[in-house]
């Protein structure tokens, strides 16, 4: 579904690349965590998938298409196949919950009747039934993020990208959001979530791709936030990347895994 072939992204010639020769394949229907310290290139990865930026070298394939070959007037079609959720929700403050979700359908020309049928359905999936007429400022952070998720998936994209969606939320609320993302994933949507929330990663036990300084240093299925089987010669780098003492994190991860 998403394939990176030797992708390098340089924003600033003088600085190190934001992504450095990244090779990665994410299959249809997978749930993948993109972890790593702040500045490790997670957001850059997601931006390249969206063709918000272009790779300096290498090729990015989305649904089999090389995004560099998509002409600018067809980029909207690419983006219709990808939902996006951010840490800061990005709702329209003067529109109510229904209108915020409907907005994503209006701007691509969906008919009024389709919108009337689809929006309540999606709001139900994210657990917001009955709150259609609330304004964003009348909602908790978790509820706002649910609206944002509803907006991202209302056009049934094949891919959902989430850039630290739980970054502003408390652990309990975060788990609720993860439940929704998991449900969306189970309905067949490929989910890629950038995060540095170790509790969540450890709880979910999904594929983990770890970035450090733009380099993929780990790609592990059903994994924890930090590796349990450090690759020889990479253990030091892993420790630095997580920003924590390894044994500590592993202990916590195991503890939650057993619960």
């Amino acid at each position: 579904m998403i394939r990176f072939e030797n992708v390098t992204k340089v924003y600033d010639q003088k600085a190190r690349p934001a992504l450095d020769s990244v090779n990665l394949e994410i299959d249809r229907g997978e749930f993948t965590f993109l972890v790593g310290a702040s500045g490790s290139g997670k957001s850059t990865f997601l931006r390249l998938v969206l063709k918000e930026d272009r790779a300096t070298s290498g090729a990015v394939y989305v649904a089999g298409q090389n995004v560099a070959k998509i002409s600018s007037w067809r980029v909207p079609r690419l983006r219709r196949g990808i939902g996006v959720v951010f840490q800061d929700f990005r709702l329209l403050p003067q529109k109510n919950v229904f209108a915020n979700v409907a907005f994503a359908m209006q701007v691509i020309g969906k008919s009024r009747s389709v919108i009337r049928d689809t929006v309540p359905e999606v709001l139900k999936t994210v657990g917001l039934e009955g709150k259609e007429h609330r304004m964003p400022h009348e909602l908790s952070g978790g509820e706002q993020q649910r609206v944002a998720i509803a907006r991202a998936v209302v056009n049934r994209p094949g891919i959902l990208l989430a850039d630290e969606p739980t970054g502003n939320l408390d652990p309990t609320t975060s788990m609720g959001i993860m439940g929704i993302l998991d449900k969306i994933n189970q309905n067949g949507t490929t989910v890629v979530m950038a995060t540095h929330d170790d509790d969540i990663v450890n709880e979910m036990r999904k594929r983990v791709v770890e970035l450090k300084n733009g380099i993929v240093i780990r790609d592990e299925a059903k994994a924890l936030y930090t590796s349990m089987i450090p690759v020889v010669g990479q253990s030091r780098r892993l420790k630095d990347a997580s920003g924590r003492e390894n044994p500590d994190a592993e202990l916590r991860g195991e503890g939650e895994g057993q619960r």
Binding site: P76, Q106, V107, G109
Partner: protein, 304 residues
């Protein structure tokens, strides 16, 4: 649905930026009024040329009491002098350039004068004695005025030879100058309008960057994202053009049609109906002004 959505976006954009939109309307209004005024002056010049060029004559004014010209040294024109001038006009040397000519006596001159200035108090202070008699010549080719002038101005009994066409040319050059000034002011104002429209659209795009950001992410097409901004500018400019058109029509109808044509009944003023052809031109000019400046602005400030 998409159309309704775009219309809604335009409405909210216009409301949010009301003061800027009003200034765009006013600036396009003023600039296009000047453009239209230049157009009206040119129409007026053409109208007057058409009306006057076959009516204007070369006038040979004859000496009267108190004339100081060299040909008038012997006092007012005598019947004898008048007869020889008449003969000269009929001679083949001159008549080959002349269509026909009439003699206008002092009394006839007074009558014409009275007609022309019927509603002016100056009539009461003028007597037939003060107006000179003249020969009125219709030329075959008005360009040959010089020949008549050279032949007659040194003849005894002739005070002066006047080409009415030259008087008109002087008037037309004043009017041409005025329309040039109008065009220059219009040019400056149009630059103002373009910059103001660009600024307005930039502000509008900035104040709605949240919406446009989300539109981009959910895959709205370039048209859906940009069209509301472009149409916002175009609508404001077209309103300005409509105001300018209404103003020009009102000037033609009330000022020229009612006031001026009473003051100068002999002058053919353009009618308010004729100004109607300026309206589509002004509307198209206003719309393309806004369209072009917003396209250029959006290319820089509204990435898609």
């Amino acid at each position: 649905m998409r159309l309704a959505f775009i219309l809604g976006e335009i409405g909210s954009g216009l409301r949010r930026n009301l003061s800027m939109v009003v200034s765009v309307i006013l600036v396009t209004f003023v600039s296009l009024t000047f453009v239209g005024a230049a157009g009206m002056l040119q129409m007026q010049i053409n109208q007057m040329k058409g009306y006057w060029y076959d009516k204007v004559q070369v006038a040979i004014f004859l000496c009267s009491e108190g004339s100081t010209a060299a040909g008038c040294a012997s006092g007012p024109v005598t019947a004898e002098q008048q007869g020889s001038l008449n003969a000269l006009l009929e001679s083949p040397a001159v008549s080959q350039y002349v269509n026909d000519f009439q003699f206008e006596s002092k009394d006839e001159a007074y009558k014409h004068f009275k007609d022309q200035f019927s509603n002016s108090p100056i009539v009461d202070s003028v007597t037939p004695d003060q107006l000179p008699a003249s020969f009125r010549i219709n030329m075959k080719d008005p360009e040959k005025y010089q020949i008549i002038s050279e032949t007659f101005s040194s003849q005894p009994g002739v005070e002066t030879v006047i080409d009415q066409r030259q008087l008109l040319e002087r008037l037309f050059s004043v009017m041409n100058g005025a329309s040039l000034v109008a065009v220059s002011i219009a040019g400056v104002m149009i630059v103002c309008a373009i910059l103001l429209i660009a600024t307005t659209i930039r502000l509008s795009a900035f104040s709605r960057r949240r919406e446009t950001g989300i539109m981009r992410l959910v895959g709205a097409s370039k048209t859906v994202i940009q069209l509301p901004f472009i149409l916002e500018g175009v609508i404001a400019a077209v309103i300005g053009a409509a105001l300018a058109s209404a103003t020009l029509w009102a000037v033609a109808h009330f000022f020229l049609g009612e006031f001026m044509s009473q003051q100068y009944p002999d002058t053919a003023f353009i009618s308010s109906g004729q100004t109607l052809i300026l309206i589509p031109a002004l509307l198209i000019l206003g719309a393309s002004l806004a369209g072009i400046s917003s396209l250029l602005t959006l290319r820089r400030y509204l990435r898609v």
